[in-house]
């Protein structure tokens, strides 16, 4: 425990600015992944334990596209689309077979996919950790703002994640697609009885959720090392976010991501050895006092 250090940090703007942005960076990437988890859970009532693997595949795909094209933006887009399509395939071929059955069966299917994709990654890309490197367009000196330091790439990352989140929110709230999806989340059979091909929507939602994970992987690729199994820790964190925010709530995922991001960034100063513990503690407290999460509706 070093609460003095935390107080000292909170007392200086430069430290606050730096830690705030660092919290946002962690939080926004987490948000992209967690929003996919929460979207899929909200609509399909399925917990996608393989979401971390989709993130990993997104990062590796971006790496390969980057080697091929040399353009980071093309790679990021390509990775998101590729992982989205993979998600649709995953949903159609595997997950749709275990809808309605025991949640444990769904868990097992996801577990199998996690194992298989980790090994396939190792076979295709090798066990050596890969690094994409910073694309030249972002190799700029960090921006200084009120004494704090903000790397341009991270600024881009935060804005991109927020933009994607906003777009997702608009699609869900404003479009007919979103209207159907929201309805299907509450009552899938009724939507189906209205003549809407609800299975297509399920596949699409899974695809979008996956594409979000893929995009997160692509955004992370320049700054994180790519290894088989890299989706593991991010999966646990995205579940914490999903549970705190409320299963099924995009807004909840957004708020909870920021909470976790800030817990990490300020926690690393104030209670560096117990940051993970505090995250689980927050999750436990939310579950005890408001099981449906900060923004969730009670579970069906």
């Amino acid at each position: 425990m070093d609460l003095d250090a935390l107080l000292r940090c909170v007392g200086t703007t430069s430290c606050v600015v730096t830690q705030l942005t660092s919290g946002m960076i962690i939080g926004m990437l987490l948000f992209l992944i967690a929003s996919g988890v929460t979207l899929i859970f909200g609509v399909l009532n399925v917990i996608n334990f393989a979401h971390g693997s989709l993130y990993m595949i997104g990062a590796y795909a971006a790496w390969t596209f980057y080697q091929l094209t040399g353009s980071y933006f093309v790679s990021a887009l390509g990775a998101a689309v590729a992982v989205g399509m993979l998600g649709v395939l995953f949903e159609r071929v595997l997950m749709s077979k275990v809808y309605g059955s025991n949640v444990l069966m769904q868990l097992l299917v996801c577990y199998a996919v996690v194992l298989i994709s980790d090994d396939l990654i190792k076979i295709i890309w090798g066990p050596v950790p890969l690094s994409m490197g910073m694309p030249p367009e972002f190799r700029l000196p960090p921006i200084r703002f009120m004494g704090g330091v903000i790397p341009p790439f991270y600024l881009f990352m935060i804005l991109a994640a927020m933009a994607i989140g906003l777009l997702l929110w608009l699609v869900i709230v404003r479009t007919r697609f979103g209207s159907v999806v929201r309805a299907a989340a509450i009552n899938g059979p009724m939507v189906s009885a209205l003549g809407i091909r609800v299975n297509l929507y399920y596949a699409a939602v899974f695809g979008i959720g996956s594409a979000l994970a893929g995009a997160a992987g692509a955004l992370a690729a320049p700054v994180r090392s790519l290894t088989p199994g890299m989706g593991f820790s991010i999966l646990i964190e995205s579940f914490i976010v999903t549970v705190i925010g409320g299963m099924g709530s995009i807004v909840g995922a957004f708020v909870a991501s920021i909470i976790i991001g800030l817990t990490r960034s300020f926690g690393s100063i104030g209670f560096p050895l117990f940051v993970d513990g505090v995250m689980f503690l927050i999750m436990a407290l939310v579950l005890i006092f408001k099981p449906s999460g900060l923004f969730g509706r009670p579970h069906r």
Partner: protein, 423 residues
């Protein structure tokens, strides 16, 4: 209709039962079938899956190169060496189970423990009980061999040892610190036993050699943590003159990439003990200048013909670059081969241990062209350690300075006394 269905079902059940029997057979069978071929079986528990699969892959590579050569030369008394490699997934209890199976079931006569630290301790307990020869080739945790409570007569370590690195590194760091006036230090190491003890020891010896050094900030990211942003910003806020890091592998690559964004390396001198290894150093795309890296494995350290040949041969036969783990395992394999020659092929744990204890081996990985298995605590000494200045391209290191072993021995003895390991 029902009857045919049920008959088919029952046949299926029979088949299933047969499968189970066959499976049970597999567990017992190889013991009988393979023992007659007369090879010397060496069991290798290691990590082949998950994030550090590279550890297992390059460890096995190091072993293979030596054993292939031994077998090509005809083995000993007509007996060749056969490696049995098993994935423990890095879990200590699996490592213990796998090691027991390798000995009891696959009839392995020697164990080459290519596990990471915590599993190595579990393997050590198995060896204590069964008493075969065991060489720990990857665990750097000092206590494994330094702590007499953990001592097992037939177990040795061919891996580098944390305390050696710390003393050598501390000496080097202190020289640079004195020359450049680096007083305020920060640390950034993974939060687990290796990272903690390695860092504490490094800073202890840096302070020992330069009394002006003080640690102003410590950060302990989790092992395999994907994002180091909060750590980097914390280090920035510390405004230290220099930083020490024991991060390794993919974690180190990610840390460097992320710290670059903040220009962290422009603001301070950095000492990274695990940077100078293939698989790390050639993955860093934007290489920071003026970073000091510890020697892990490098084809130019030492810059001898033998080393270059060894490197070329390794890459050619194993299809990947060697790592620190490769040389550690190659040395382990060399010890096994030499000991077998001494015992004339007798793999008895006690006899092999007697042969290896105190053995000095010709090796390009040694400071004087040799490495020695120190008799007093069954651990490797005289291997090359040291620091150099990192470069962004091959050979990735310049001005490499090998640590002298005499001061290391002396300070190691003091350290052991302080720990209560020796009186």
């Amino acid at each position: 209709m029902t009857s045919t269905e049920s008959r088919r079902a029952s046949r299926r059940q029979v088949l299933k039962g047969a499968g189970a029997l066959a499976a049970a057979g597999v567990i017992g069978a190889p013991a009988i079938s393979k023992a007659q071929t007369g090879t010397i079986k060496i069991g290798v528990p290691t990590i082949l899956s998950g994030r550090v699969a590279i550890l297992g892959q390059t460890s096995v590579g190091g072993l293979k190169v030596v054993f292939d050569k031994f077998n090509a030369a005809g083995g000993i008394n007509g007996r060749k060496i056969e490696m049995v490699v098993r994935d423990s997934k890095g879990a200590p209890q699996e490592a213990a189970k796998v090691t027991r199976d390798l000995i009891n079931n696959d009839k392995c006569e020697i164990i080459l423990d290519a596990e990471a630290s915590s599993a190595a301790f579990a393997v050590q307990e198995v060896i204590r009980e069964i008493g075969v020869l065991c060489l720990h080739s990857n665990s750097e945790t000092s206590s494994l061999t330094a702590d007499p409570k953990l001592h097992v007569p037939t177990a040795f370590r061919t891996a580098r040892q944390g305390i050696h690195d710390a003393i050598g590194g501390g000496d080097y760091a202190a020289k640079i610190a004195k020359a450049k006036g680096l007083k305020k230090w920060a640390t950034c190491s993974p939060d687990y036993a290796y990272g903690r003890s390695n860092t504490a020891e490094f800073m202890e010896y840096a302070k020992h050699f330069d009394g002006n050094i003080q640690v102003v900030e410590e950060s302990w990211p989790k092992l395999f943590q994907p994002d180091y942003t909060e750590v980097v910003t914390k280090l920035l806020n510390a405004k230290a003159d220099a930083m020490y890091s024991a991060l390794w592998g993919g974690d180190l690559v990610a840390f460097i990439d992320q710290a670059n964004l903040y220009g962290l390396f422009d603001k301070q001198a950095s000492f990274m003990v695990n940077l100078g290894d293939y698989g790390v150093v050639d993955q860093v795309k934007q290489f920071p200048q003026g970073v000091y890296s510890g020697g892990r494995y490098n084809r130019t350290v030492p810059a001898t013909k033998e080393n270059e040949e060894w490197y070329q041969n390794y890459v050619k036969t194993q299809k990947h670059k060697p790592t620190n783990w490769s040389w550690e395992n190659a040395v382990a394999a060399e010890f096994v081969v030499e000991a077998l020659k001494k015992t004339n092929g007798d793999t008895n744990g006690k006899k092999m241990a007697e042969a290896i204890k105190g053995m000095t081996l010709k090796s390009q990985f040694g400071t004087k062209g040799t490495v020695t298995m120190r008799a007093e605590d069954n651990t490797l000494v005289d291997y090359i350690i040291g620091y150099g200045v990192s470069l962004s391209k091959e050979p990735y290191v310049s001005d490499f300075q090998a640590s002298a072993w005499e001061p290391i021995f002396e300070l190691e003895k003091q350290w052991k006394k302080k720990q209560g390991y020796i009186s």
